[in-house]
């Protein structure tokens, strides 16, 4: 998968990263490293630049300032296919309409390995079925996309990521459309992927979920990196309130579950 020396490097190194859309500064002066083999959560209020940062990491936006190093190599110098073999990306909204069956959709995860022309082998098809089995959709592999519910589409996206099998996953709000059971199942699944050595970087809205499941947190506010590090140390009242421009506190109740307390503004 990776050369041994790159295992010692962080997955991503960001240096003076900034991004503008028109005249608006969406991100500025981001300097950080994202650890390999861990679950990193990007949190912050609406419009803080979370999704922009994730898209930059995925190489989906052009024209940023500063440097993004993936495995120590500038991201922009990687050929598209090679980048797609290293980075799996899942957006916030699965497509509404898609003239494909579920299995055909999941098979597109092999595009980085097959290229535009390569024929899918029986090994590729077996990967598709395994991925569908692990998201409990194996019975629906011939279903047209339009017959899948929002939650099933989200899980289909996860199956596509599993089929793509990139060592780093970039997920934008992966628990969108999921009910409580499937949220818990998804996080457990992500933890087991991290235990197998995968690096996961996810934008999360829910601070309690970030505190519970992530190893590492980036707190963004208004395009700035306000805090980073271990969730408990990073998500403390002062920086949270600064990020959200509102009194916010994260605390652990007697059963050890994380809860958010939202205060009244002064």
């Amino acid at each position: 998968m990776n050369a041994p020396h790159s295992l010692l490097l962080p997955a991503f190194q960001l240096r003076q990263l900034g991004f503008q859309a028109g005249k608006r500064n969406l991100l500025a002066q981001i300097n950080t490293e994202l650890p390999r083999g861990q679950f990193t959560a990007i949190v912050g209020p609406n419009g803080a630049g979370k999704s922009t940062l994730l898209k930059l990491l995925g190489g989906l936006l052009t024209g940023h300032q500063g440097q993004i190093l993936l495995d120590g190599i500038p991201l922009s110098t990687l050929p598209l296919d090679e980048r797609a073999r290293k980075l799996g990306w899942q957006g916030q909204f699965p497509p509404n309409e898609l003239p494909l069956n579920l299995a055909d959709y999941v098979l597109l995860g092999r595009r980085p390995n097959l290229g535009s022309f390569g024929r899918a082998s029986s090994v590729d098809l077996a990967r598709v079925m395994d991925a569908l089995k692990s998201v409990e959709l194996q019975d629906r592999h011939t279903s047209p996309w339009r017959n899948l519910s929002g939650g099933e589409r989200q899980r289909a996206g996860l199956a596509r990521l599993l089929t793509q099998d990139a060592p780093i996953w970039l997920l934008d709000e992966p628990i969108n459309h999921l009910d409580l059971k499937h949220q818990a199942l998804l996080f457990r699944r992500l933890r087991s992927e991290v235990a197998k050595g995968r690096t996961i970087i996810a934008v999360l809205h829910d601070l309690t979920q970030a505190a519970r499941w992530a190893d590492h947190v980036l707190l963004l506010g208004d395009g700035q990196l306000l805090a980073q590090g271990e969730p408990t140390r990073c998500l403390e009242p002062a920086s949270l309130s600064q990020a959200y421009q509102w009194p916010v506190r994260l605390w652990q109740n007697q059963e050890g579950h994380w809860q958010v307390a939202v205060g009244e503004a002064a």
């Binding site: 299995a103 995860g109 077996a126």
Partner: protein, 336 residues
């Protein structure tokens, strides 16, 4: 091959065995059989009866054979480009006629005809016209925004603009050119003012080949730009290649048969409903089915008003809108 078999046997019905059987065996046989029968029928069909085609008869090899070949070429090219354009615009209602590509090609052809240029000049001009229209449409749709309805509206506007240009050119030119061009423009196959098959065929085949090669990347484009990029698809390059491939196919089709609407929308949608599956397969199947479909329609057009030779474009203009409405209703009911 044996590993594939073993894989199918080991797993309980992956990808639906019946579908695989249907696509693997029955469909090609059906298509080949149907194709041979249809071609034979079209060659011997007279309007008031059918005779076994006699190859020494000049009527067969000088008139009907070119007409049959034109129908196959035009139908295949239109259906293939429809299947690809529907993925490019992420809109199942896209059709070379509805989005103005055909009209752009026709305008270029009429302009070149007015200058007195013929033969290879016609399909090349048609290609340029079709490419320019597709490109304008892509650019304007991004500029205006507003989703699939706005795309169809802009296409309609571009189409009527090109149609107005064509009308002015025809109005200004001398009467003889005008009359022969009118017949060709309304979708008459085998008219003498269209481009020679010898030049149009390789251009159409090149375009279809480009579109088939793009198949998997077009599937990825359907997921959205970000997803496609994240799967390693060079999005802009694929868009340009698809516009060029579709313009080659549509250009060749228009230069031979004028404006024949709705074939590029009906055939791929019907095939997609029956088959599902990836875009590459859809483009290949649509090409074959589209070729046979237009041949069938053209034979019908020769028969319905015999001895008058009805342009197949007019017949398609009757069937197409009904299909369009049905599909639109199907889709809007799903959205609820």
């Amino acid at each position: 091959m044996s590993t594939v078999r073993a894989f199918w046997l080991r797993r309980p019905a992956p990808f639906s065995i019946s579908l695989a059987l249907c696509q693997g065996l029955a469909l090609p046989f059906l298509l080949i059989g149907g194709a041979c029968g249809l071609v034979l029928f079209a060659l011997g069909f007279q309007g008031d009866g059918w005779q076994w085609p006699d190859w020494r008869d000049p009527l067969i090899h000088a008139l009907r054979l070119p007409r049959v070949l034109s129908a196959l070429l035009v139908g295949g090219a239109l259906a293939a480009s429809g299947a690809a354009l529907q993925a490019l615009f992420r809109n199942p209602l896209a059709d070379p006629t509805l989005i103005g590509t055909s009209s752009g090609a026709a305008l270029a052809v009429v302009a070149v005809m007015a200058l007195g240029i013929g033969s290879i000049g016609l399909p090349v001009a048609a290609f340029a016209g079709a490419l320019l229209t597709t490109w304008l449409l892509l650019g304007l749709a991004r500029l205006v925004g507003g989703g699939e309805i706005s795309l169809l509206l802009i296409g309609l506007l571009l189409g009527s603009l090109a149609g107005a240009g064509t009308g002015i050119l025809l109005f200004l030119s001398d009467e003889l050119t005008l009359r022969s061009a009118m017949v060709w423009l309304s979708g008459q196959l085998g008219s003498t003012s269209g481009a020679p098959l010898l030049w149009a065929t390789p251009i159409a085949l090149l375009g279809i080949a480009i579109l088939i090669a793009l198949g998997r990347d077009l599937d990825c484009l359907l997921l959205g730009e970000d997803d496609a990029r994240s799967l390693g698809v060079p999005v802009e390059r694929v868009r340009i290649a698809c516009a060029i491939g579709a313009a080659l196919a549509v250009g060749a089709a228009v230069s031979v048969g004028g404006i024949i609407g709705f074939v590029g929308m009906m055939v791929p949608n019907a095939c997609a409903l029956l088959l599902g599956g990836g875009r590459r397969k859809l483009i290949v199947v649509s090409t074959v089915v589209g070729a046979l479909f237009l041949l069938g329609m053209d034979t019908l057009a020769r028969g319905v008003a015999y001895p008058v030779n009805l342009p197949v474009g007019l017949l398609a203009g009757f069937i197409g809108p009904v299909f369009f409405l049905w599909l639109f209703r199907l889709r809007s009911r799903r959205a609820v």
